[in-house]
Structure formats: C-alpha cells, structure tokens
C-alpha cells in the first residue's frame, strides 16, 4: 500500500490542516514509512477477537444531572483570540 499526494491532500482537508506541495511530499514519505511499519498487524488473524475499547471494564456511573458551575461566562471567553462581550468572534460565515 502506498499513500500518494492525492490522499495526503484529502487527509489534510479532513484534518483541517493546510499543506503546500513541499509539506505534502514530506508527509507522504513519513506516512508511507509509518504505514509500512503498521502493516505488520496483518500477519495476525483476528476474525474472532472482540475489540478492546476500554481497559477499565467498568460501567459508567450514573449521577444526578445538576448544575455545578454557575456564572462562568467571563471565564469561558477569557482565553478567546477575539470576542465581543459574551460572544466568540469568527470570520464572516454568511454573506
């Protein structure tokens, strides 16, 4: 299997990370060597193995649905790159 530039561009779009030609070529080399290494898993037959989704084999605890944090609006927007009082500001999305 080999990951070509077209695939890199597709993944970069899905990842919302812009890549130029030079970066895409470097990524293709790196990802191919990593996937070559990962292909080793195909040596194993796993048809009848149940996938492990969590090592902690406990069921999630239920708790009452209570409001724990109140009046933290200011804290929430405190770290935003751009805000307008109580709102996050982003580039225009509707013309």
């Amino acid at each position: 299997m080999s990951i070509d530039l077209k695939t890199i561009k597709h993944i970069s779009k899905l990842s919302r990370i812009s890549v130029d030609e030079k970066k895409a070529e470097k990524l293709a080399v790196d990802l191919n060597s990593i996937f070559e290494f990962i292909e080793k898993l195909n040596e194993l037959k796993t048809d009848n193995v149940k996938p492990l989704t969590s090592v902690a084999e406990t069921t999630l605890k239920l708790r009452p649905d209570e409001v724990k944090s109140k009046n933290i609006r200011e804290q929430i927007v405190k770290n935003s790159p751009q805000d307008n009082e109580d709102y996050f500001v982003v580039p225009k999305v509707i013309e």
Partner: protein, 485 residues
C-alpha cells in the same frame, strides 16, 4: 544547610516537619538552582515570585500534618494550573491561561506543596526526546547535547538536575518511564484509572495517565499516594481502595514470582541492555524472589497497534484547537481557511503527522482495516498479560532498548524514534502500572533503567519490588553540574 537541593523529598519533608528547614529556605534553594540552570531549558514558565510568596505565607502558619508541607514542586506543562499559563509545549496554546486546576495538581497543593513552574515537554506529549516542543530542546543533566527522553523530558531533566525535589509527568506510551530511564531517575506510570485525567491536556484518552517522577522509590511512592484519587470529573477514574503507598512500602519481596518475558529480547538490542537485565534478574533473586520465564507472544505487535490507536484518539482530541474559543489564531480569508491556517501554523510537524495518521485510520473505508484491527490486537496484547499474571506477581524488563541519544540523532526518522517505546507501550495498551528504576550505566556512563510491570491496581507490589532492588543496586547518578557556570 547549603545542600538543600540534594535532599530527597522524604528528607525535605522530615526537615520541614522538624523545623530544621522552613518552606521559604527550601523554595529559595530550588529557585536559586533553577535560575542557574537555564541552559537545561527545563522550564517553559517560571512562577518563582508567586512560589516565594506562598512559601512565606506557609511559614507564617505552617500546617505540618500535611504530606508535602511547604515543599516546592515544578510540574509538566500538560497539567492545567489555574491562572498560570499552560502550553502543552505547543504554539497553539502559547497564550492559554486556564481558569481551572487539574485534579492531580489540586491534590498536590492540598497537601501543602507549592508550584515552582511549568516544565518543558514534547508538543502535546507526542515525542520521545523532548525535541518536538515549541519551546526548544531540553538538555539532559547527564551530558551536554544529550536528550532527556520524552515526552516528560523537562520533568526528568528537572528532577535529575535537582531543580525540583519531585515532579509529575504523563505517560501515554512511555513518557514517564523512558525519560526516567534516560536521566537516572525513578518514574511510575500508574494503572489506567488511578489518577484523574481531569485538567490534563488530552493526547490519547484511553492510554493517558499521570504519574510521579522522583530521585528514589520512596519519594515516588509518597507522591503517588498524594496524586491518586477517585474523581467523578473523569468518567474513567476508578473507585478502588488506594494504599498509603509510602507507609506500606517494604523491601520484603521474599517468595514473589517475577516473570521474565522472552519476547523482550529484541533483535539488535545492545549487549549492555541484556547484561543489565541479567543483573536485574540476579538482584530480585538476591532479594528472595523467584524468577519464571514467561511468554508475551504479541509483544512485537504493540508498537504498530499503538501507532494506530494513539493517533486516532489524538486526531479526535485535537480537533478542538480551531482558533475560535482559545489558543492561537491565524488570519484566514474565511472560516475554513482560518481553521486550516491556524492548525497548520499552530501545530508542529510531529503533531500534524499524528493527526493525519489518526484521521486516515478513522476515515471512511479504512476504519475496519486499521482502527478496528488495532483494537482487536490490543485485546490480544492484554490477554497475554492476563495469562502471564496467572503464573507471576510482576514482570521485569529493560525500560528502553538503549541509553539516551544525542539531540538531532533521530529527528529525521519517525519510526526509529518510535522504537524507543518498544518496552513501555504494551503496558499502556493493557492499562497496567509500570515503574522504571535506574539500574546501571552504559560504557559512556549514561544511566540505564529496568522496568517492573504489575497487575492492575497493584502499584504497592511493584513499588515494593523496586524498593528492594534499589537497595541492592545502590545506583549513583553521575551529575557533574556541567551547565552551571
């Protein structure tokens, strides 16, 4: 006392409790040494002025019943600290000041400890040499231009260099144990669910665990006792009876059965690692334990499994960095362009690489072939350990396949970098506790570590084995203070 920074945590606590030392004296000593140690680049953010104020305040009304009374400590910059910048070693969080505290650090402050500052680490804890940090390389106190390991490289460097008496790191695939091994320090990765993940910048949520790093096993046990707690704020935190690890610590390991897995004898492993392992086997026998040859047949599949599971979870966890709610934002022509440029300029190369791998293995048409396959192999790896633990109480292996390497030596080959974690990754995949202790030196005098892997929630047992071995090994770290002019 001029040699304050040479004291272990246990000694410092005793001296403060006996009023031989004040918190201010101790805090000042570690600040002074940290100031002289800028060349190590162990800190990302120093909080020295505030630390001194807190120490003075502690001394005015000292509560000596606490476990860490007035003891200063610097922590990995992956833990959110209220009102103190938390970067995860990334440009994208370069201006992030949390409005809340991680549970693990909160547990530390509640026992009387004082924050010294935030320690350097690989970006989002992705790396094995601390070279992916936006804030630059960290020097290993063992030798100039030597990596301290990673991702908790700043933490390991700061403990080995005596800039902090103890510290905490996080371990997703070896990020506590590998740097501990590279710097001649002790590092424990607890059982998954032992320490709360609340307030820790997430990398791979099914693998991430916080843990203590220290100069010796007893200090490590004491810190583990402080940080481990059941926390309703982390849905995978587990409610089990936690030991008083430092109080219950014993070097009596007579009759313990210790497994030696043959699959850890990997191709190309240097002879000095094999020799160290044999020495370790002799040490545990000298302590009255019995060693048993075991097999963990799927060991060689652990790294490929890890490099599917961890990036998949990372790609999902790091989707939140979009330049909208917090962190760095790049200028874009429209919203999508802003997202793409923010993430392209804000993340470093290794993080981008892992997000791309993760996105690919989760993408339509590839999920079954990669992600589901990896989850199945992960089950086989866990089954290996479950089988082994029917016969043994713990497992002894080397911590790493080599000693520390030079800065820049492995940065161009991601796979060779990943191979560093070959002995540590299986432990994370199975959710088990593992501890690395310094056990010897290579031909250049660089430290080498041995790893003891335990059953889930059996931290006390591996701490005891480590404690007994430590006494036999009598390891001395060769630190020359080369960076202090």
């Amino acid at each position: 006392m001029s040699d304050i920074t040479k004291q272990s945590l246990t000694e410092l606590v005793e001296n403060i409790k006996d009023k031989k030392l004040s918190s201010t004296e101790v805090t000042k000593a570690f600040i002074d040494r940290s100031e002289k140690s800028k060349e190590l680049n162990a800190y990302i953010t120093e909080d020295f002025t505030s630390a001194l104020n807190k120490a003075k305040k502690f001394d005015q009304k000292p509560n000596l019943d606490l476990k860490l009374p007035g003891v200063p400590i610097a922590v990995k910059d992956l833990f959110c600290t209220k009102d103190v910048k938390t970067t995860a070693g990334s440009k994208i969080l370069n201006n992030f000041v949390p409005t809340y505290e991680s549970t693990v650090t909160d547990n530390i402050w509640k026992e009387g400890s004082i924050l010294l500052g935030k320690l350097n680490c690989d970006e989002f804890a992705m790396g094995s040499s601390n070279e992916t940090s936006f804030f630059g390389n960290v020097q290993n106190p063992i030798d100039k231009d030597l990596v301290p390991g990673g991702s908790s490289g700043g933490s390991a460097s700061a403990v080995a260099g005596q800039l902090t008496p103890i510290t905490i790191g996080t371990d997703t695939g070896g990020s506590i144990r590998q740097p501990a091994s590279f710097t001649g320090t002790v590092g424990l990765k607890p059982t998954y669910g032992s320490c709360s993940r609340y307030g820790i910048v997430a990398f791979a949520s099914s693998l991430d665990q916080a843990g203590p790093m220290a100069q010796n096993v007893k200090d490590c046990a004491l810190l583990q006792e402080v940080i481990s707690s059941y926390d309703p704020k982390d849905s995978t935190s587990i409610d089990f009876k936690r030991n008083q690890y430092s109080k219950e610590l014993t070097n009596n390991i007579k009759g313990k059965k210790i497994g030696i897995p043959k699959e850890y004898r990997v191709d190309g492993m240097p002879k000095e690692i094999e020799d160290l392992w044999q020495k370790g086997i002799q040490y545990v026998k000298d302590c009255g334990a019995e060693t048993i040859d075991i097999s963990l047949p799927h060991t060689s599949y652990a790294l490929p499994t890890y490099y599917i599971v961890a990036p998949a979870e990372a790609s999902s966890n790091l989707a939140r960095y979009d330049g909208v709610k917090y962190g760095f934002r790049a200028k874009g022509e429209n919203l999508i362009d802003m997202y793409e440029k923010t993430r392209s300029e804000g993340f470093g190369a290794e993080v981008q690489r892992r997000i791309m791998i993760g996105t690919y293995v989760l993408s339509s048409g590839y999920y079954d072939a990669y992600y589901l396959k990896a989850q199945k192999v992960r089950k086989l790896i866990k089954n290996d350990f479950d089988e082994a633990y029917k016969k043994v109480d713990a497992i002894l292996t080397p911590s790493t396949p080599s000693s520390a390497f030079k800065i820049g030596e492995k940065t161009n080959d991601p796979v060779s970098m990943y191979l560093n974690d070959i002995f540590t990754v299986p432990v994370n995949l199975a959710g088990l506790p593992g501890i690395s202790i310094p056990a010897g030196h290579d031909s250049r005098g660089y430290p080498l570590g041995l790893q003891i892997i335990g059953k889930a929630f059996d931290e006390q047992n591996i701490l005891n084995i480590a404690y007994a071995m430590e006494e036999k090994i009598n390891f001395k770290n060769k630190i020359t203070d080369w960076w202090i002019k």
